[in-house]
Subunit: 286 residues, 6 copies
């Protein structure tokens, strides 16, 4: 069963690992139809592909990850709404916007709902809503040719679909986050790593960053999926709650998860120590 | 109308941009009268200068940003309170302190209440309450000659006016934050950037960092003020709430803010694409 | 009175400073008995050693900080529980686990309950539960020979005793935190500092990092203990609450803490300025 | 367009007002298929019937509102799951349950997502999941023949789909809530009103309580729908957040909602006073 | 010093007790100028009358407590804003509304900021914003002739200034709160007590309810003001936070407040028991 | 094994049900030693009596439930502390108080930590700390001779050990809660039920209310203990969190708890229906 659709390609480059490529020609502009497809893709993987253990997200085009919000689409909608309903007012328009915004939020947050990690492999240009898209992924790798901009203020938008909620939790320099958000300045892959947006810069472009993300995905795929899912859920909870709240939540998670058969087992080997307090391990190479 | 006062200078070095300079001779010691003036300055700008789009905050003196809490003033107050009311007790003294502390908190937090970004341009020595002052600003730039210390423990104070509430959200290394707060050790501008307190180190001193902040302010001033204000409010909310809470809040913000005329407009050009999914942009230079 | 026990050594290398060494041969495996002792050690220091102003935590062995969860112990327990009670079911097992997990959480969080700072001096290999242990300490220094891994997923564990609650607050790059948690990859001391887990890398091994932590502890020990304790409490609160909540909480703390005799006093000197707004200080050397 | 389905009847007894009747013969047992239909019904009304201003929810049968969880269905599922997957374990089963539970929660909470108020008109016997269903409605009326029981503990369930989250916020006597939840005792309509679960007891049975709910719905339907929706959203927010949080949220709602044309208008009359501070109103009859 | 102003009368019917009467002829309509005066009155009492231990709030007119929002004023403002600024848009209007709404919220919440309890003595008709006014008071008494209505939906307002944030915390029947808020139905003093809005219904009108509130205020005035203030602050905190959060906050409050001289003292008598565990008290008459 | 101690009697009037009686002659004054014993009693039952399914808490004396805080004890402590340490100050005293207060809080909250419900059977006079004690119990029954007073303000205490955190969540009339807390007025059993503090008033005194509580406890003891414990935990969580937070937490609870063998089983009978949607039940008698 192929989950690819008009603007989104889905392939399985390695067992248990899917590659989702944004493929709306020419610049992955994100309009209503596109992001509905985007959300549906991840929800479908969750529902129909239980064997999946990690997903890589990239653009299908080498030069651009995403140009962000489809302004043509937006322009039409703004115009259409104004024309359509002479009986409307600002409050009613807001009520309608609210429903659409919630749908977009639902779609962009789809990777967070998945039980498996989603790794964004960013390359080329990435603008506005394209940053929202990677902000809700688990892990972000960037090719050295990646360029980012929080474009919203540049088009008179005070609005966002997740970036401004996620970045304060994801990154470790709020002065930088605010600077970029107020200016729509471009920043490089190196700066993104330095400021905490990505965890690795891969020399090169699309090919290199996707290859690196694939290596990462393979390592994840060797782990107990029940352990990885639990870890994902607890990290998201920990990021959003106080330590005390998270520990209370963790307690019950643990009480279930320690009952998995995967506990104390590893494919191909037993590693239960022979004596209390003992444990054999090799010297880690870094 | 000039908003300058005895210890605080306000100028407009560029249209829409104000420069607030702390100017209490000799070391910008922060006493009751000073911080009342400080808070009033920002609140007055908000109320009386609706055209302002960004504010730069620096010291008026080249060597020192602020020596922090005015200990002379503090000593007097401590002494005065003890002398004045023989009928008082520790609980009543605490009740009185509480009112003053809330007023100081109100004043120091004034930049956060503003609708425009406040950029702290730090240079020279910055001590104790001087760090509280920059912690509630939006963006922090440091001159390479800047030196910082969280001085409170050094004078037997377990108290703070915002630093200990802000820094865990602003910076990305809590081990460093605690180390500095427990030791009152000095740290440099480079270390401040590395640990997430500032987003840029500018080679030089006051002149250079203020010039750099002014360039930043000019870029911000070209954006839709409605978009910048919205972005500021949402980032503050995102920094203080879970993703779920922020998205719920964001939904309504967006529903209003998309109704601004600034949406899809940019001074001097239309950039609505001719075809769906299309969007022209130049190659970013970094 | 010596607080050392079978697997944990406690010494006082300098007045007011204790050194706690994990000393369970051969690899500081953390089993039920060990972490009970671990928690008790810190609670006993709090109760019986009121003169203590800082504690250094290290391993007693030069090559390894901790191998994490004692898998032999765990294996026994899992087996024992299954054998023991044929009338049990998954929900009842979860109820029992919950009690044990809360006890472990209590133990690992003991450093946070202390009124004095706890400095983890990490050297050699540090695995799984060993990272939980340092995550709840105040400050983390690492020897350059330190190696870390969040090992849980590697043994089919979705569970944790604090790491996944603490790291999102402690570090400034969530992409890195998730990457390490999903892969159990090893990372170096330098990477740990770059990503915000430690605030200093000390060239060398156990000896060097403990010496450096001791210098830090000495600086802390010269400060007012009431000021240091207050600072610790407020930073923990600030890390877990919104700015508004923290300021509300801070207000009352301040109202008490300003009533300490330590306020405006420093051993060996008076530094109340002679004139309002004045303050003498030397030029900081960095 | 009729939204009725196999087990749920939808009629429009009065313009703008729908009547949703639970009609699964013989006792409105709530199984997977039933609650999917239940949730879909409300979501469809929201999407396809924008003219609706209030919905009344009752049973189609006079003697019973709902017998709660369909135990036959549940028994099958439990059995089926055990049979199906020999490779499963308690943690994996929990993972699967979680998805289903979230779907049930989604369905039962559907009334809260609606923009219009949902009035539960309870009559006859109402058991377990039937109480969850009314707990998430806006308003609860009970016929004097209504009987309630929180049945979960009676069938060995520690689980719930919303009751235990809602009742502490809805009712004003936690001792009573706990008593009923721990005993599965039956309680009457009068007791339900006395303890805060319902706001009116209507003498009689289904016919009378539905008639009374319809009168209420008609009064609601005469109000500005934009005002009613806003009020609903704010009350739900107020119930779940601190006053400070709610006021912050309210501020922006107000800022939009005051821009509706409905503001200061009422069908058929102008009531703007002629002089400041003046306002004519009749004497209320109670 | 008299704190009375044009529309608000302030008297001292008994030492330590003030009576604030709303006195805007003819119906206490609440417009911008009125609520500014309202907030200022309470803030001035706090600042300038430290001897005050309780305040009674009533209307100066016997038939009406308040007609709520001054619609004439509102109509003018709406009209004025539309006329004034052709360059405005819905988002900018929302920005402006936001500032005014925050000012109104500040004013209406003034009683909560006071260190002394505020007792609302409600009599006659009380509409809309008049309910907001009493919702933020500490204690509510109603004359038997009191009538209430949450009027907002009746004039197309989805907005509120505190009612929808306060009532879910103040009252114990959310079904009733929603019913009243969606219908603008009138409800009586008895119903208000039954549903948790008021704690006493006094037979009669203004005279009787004010007399009863005065008796209550006198009893409060005999208690330690430091104890009453602390109790007020802790109840507000407890109402807005989890038990765990409140206990953490309470701990520090207690640590200060136990240091008051009032502790273990009562005017005119010592009541320290002669033996441990002993305590003399009379039989309470109810 | 008898868990009775000097001042607390523990008996087992019925299998699985314990009766804890406060028995400090003459008035159950609550001093340091008493409440340590109180907390220990409940913690010991949890640890050593796994068969217990419900506990009844009453006084051993017919006329008095508790006189609250042991003032003799308190007076001694206050005096002792002042005498002991001339080097102390208000902040240090606060630090010391804090530890004791946390211990008292721990003790008074012990019933909430238990896995079984605790039913307070109140009779006679109940003062101050005696109300704290019942506030953290699950269910409160009152004899008709019960009298309550929140006594703290009467002895100059702004402090509390849980009452002010619990009552806003437990009761449905905040005006009444504040009135009682500010005045230390006595209120009757009937008033306590009307305002939501107790769920039943039993005509008579100690004998009658304990008998009624025992009947309740017996009904609880027939239910699945795993179901009752789960219900207790979820209600406490629901009382302290938003609906959204509670549902997220509930999901995982359910996922575990549905795996108990108790699910779909009831002692002595199978009640799985023969056909889908069917369910036989008798007519409830009320």
């Amino acid at each position: 069963m192929d989950l690819s659709s008009k603007w989104i390609k889905v392939s399985e480059p390695f067992p248990h690992i899917l590659h989702v490529e944004l493929a709306r020609d020419p610049v992955n502009a994100v309009g209503f139809e596109f992001w509905k497809a985007y959300g549906t893709t991840f929800d479908s993987i969750s529902e129909k592909k239980p064997h999946v253990r990690a997903v890589i997200l990239s653009s299908a085009f080498s030069d651009i990850f995403s140009a962000g919000f489809d302004l043509y689409n937006a322009g039409q909608i703004m115009k259409g709404r104004t024309d359509a309903d002479p009986a409307s007012d600002a409050a009613r328009i807001a009520m309608n916007f609210q429903k659409q915004i919630e749908q977009i939020q639902e779609a962009i947050m789809a990777p967070e709902r998945c039980t498996f990690p989603v790794i964004a492999a960013v390359h080329g240009t990435n603008i506005g809503l394209g940053v929202d898209i990677i902000a809700s992924c688990d892990i972000r790798y960037a090719a050295s040719n990646a360029r980012f901009t929080l474009k919203q203020v540049d088009i008179g938008m005070a609005a966002d679909m997740g970036t401004l909620a996620y970045l304060p939790k994801v990154m470790g320099n709020m002065s930088f986050v605010r600077e970029m958000a107020y200016t729509a300045d471009w920043f490089s892959a190196d700066r993104a790593e330095q400021m905490g947006l990505v965890s690795k810069v891969v020399d090169g472009g699309k090919e290199e960053v996707v290859a690196s993300a694939l290596e990462l995905a393979k390592r994840i795929a060797t782990k107990s999926p029940i352990a990885v899912t639990g870890t994902k859920r607890l990290l998201s909870h920990g990021s959003d709650h106080s330590v005390a709240e998270s520990l209370q939540y963790t307690t019950w998670w643990n009480a279930i998860m320690l009952q998995t058969k995967d506990f104390l087992k590893r494919p191909g080997s037993s590693f239960l120590p022979a004596r209390p307090g003992d444990f054999k391990f090799g010297t880690p190479k870094l």
